[in-house]
Amino acid sequence: DKLDDIIASGKLRCAVVLDFPPMGMRDDKNEPQGFDVDYCKDLAKALGVEAKIVETTFPERIPALMANKVDVGVASTSDTLERAKTVGMTIPYYAFEDVVVANEKAGIKSWEDMKGKTIGATAGTYEAIWAEKQVKGWGVGAFRPYQSQADVFLALSQGQIDATVATTEVAEANMKTGKFPGLSLAGKTPMVPDYVALIAKREEYGLLNYMNLFINQQVRTGRYAELYHKWISKNDPADLTIHGIYR
């Protein structure tokens, strides 16, 4: 099966989204880096193979997996039931909370002010699907999906959209770069935390099983906290379990 294939080929191909700092991005030599990049490398190391980072966009990451361009996705993939019909999901390896990032000119202070505004997000993401639903529910304002997180922030800083919904990590990392003077954080969204999973083909139980244990080991050995401190913040890492539920 796939697990054997990976070990035999000596190579693990991970789909990673590289315009999604700090999970995936490029350093000033334009080499991939970030939480997801390191996570992939750890997985490869555990398997005893070499890691190969394949950059994908958000809309393209699952097609890339299905089309055998990659073996696994370490791409902050939200574990929705709809998607699980098509791909196999591991236990969560990370949990995002989403915040509103607004252009200061739009005068948005909190989620409640978003009604009637133009909201953008990255096409095909959990938060995009959620935000589009909210906008449709309000019946006013507009929703715009862009092809990448970068285009969303570009559009936001140019004032083409008034606000976006993004993960706290991404929002903070982007703000830290100092490239976005006109933007500010405007509070949390009333969205349940976005648990993300590693993905592989639905039928590759061996591989999925291995990855579940791998995620568990990452937390147990403290490597998860280490990566969290390296890329995200000095605070305590996000909780990967929900109280009162097995998985």
């Binding site: 000033d28 334009n30 097609p63 089309a67 055998n68 800083s157």
Partner: protein
């Protein structure tokens, strides 16, 4: 004054993207031209009815957006056939067929523009069909078709900007990556546009010049 945080390594990164654009274009145009010549000749040789499936097949590549062709080919090869192929291969295959579909039309036009009397003269000297094609039709049709072919090659280069959907980092995608980091959209886009323009413009002018010269 104007200032940019573009570093030397970023320029190298852009150049790699440009290199990818040129590589994909060169491979696709080369393969597509060979296929196009074969299809173009076949189309004329097969007769109207027999050629219909070929005409229909080629027409598809000219009638649906290249973006959809790429997505579909990617999904088909990977999801349906379950083959492990790189995005680069998919991009080259699709662009080759795309080139071939236009090239076949150009080739057909070029061959048809060779007067039938000239071809009869060749045959009546005892030349075979192949010799006629090789020594008479090919050189004459090439002159007629070359300007359009240059236009086609440049068109493919511009259209290769779409191969980003199959994870090939060509020039426009590299530019977008740098925009993400540097947040200087206008400057970077202008650099990118200038690159396309500097390759395309002189060649297009050269094609126009050839057309003028050979139409006399």
């Amino acid at each position: 004054m104007f200032s940019t945080s573009l570093t030397l390594s970023d320029v190298v990164f852009l150049a790699q993207g440009a290199g990818m654009t040129i590589l994909v274009t060169a491979l696709s145009v080369a393969t597509g031209t060979v296929l196009g010549v074969i299809f173009g000749v076949l189309r004329l040789q097969l007769g109207t009815i027999l050629a219909m499936p070929l005409v229909f097949f080629l027409d598809i590549f000219r009638s649906i957006p290249l973006l959809i062709q790429l997505v579909l080919a990617n999904a088909f090869v990977g999801m349906v056939l379950q083959l492990e192929t790189s995005g680069f291969t998919i991009a080259c295959i699709v662009l080759s067929l795309y080139t071939a579909s236009y090239c076949a039309e150009i080739v057909r036009g070029g061959i048809q523009a060779v007067p039938s009397t000239t071809r009869r003269a060749a045959r009546s000297l005892g030349m075979t069909w192949f010799q006629d094609m090789r020594y008479i039709v090919a050189p004459l049709a090439t002159r007629i078709a070359l300007p359009s072919w240059i236009g086609l090659a440049l068109g493919v280069m511009k259209d290769s900007a779409l191969v980003y959907v199959v994870q090939v980092t060509e020039l426009l995608k590299s530019t977008q990556i740098l925009i993400t980091r540097l947040q200087e959209p206008l400057f970077l886009l202008l650099v990118c546009g200038a690159f396309y323009f500097l390759i395309s413009f002189p060649l297009a002018r050269f094609g126009g010049y050839l057309e003028k010269r050979w139409s006399k």
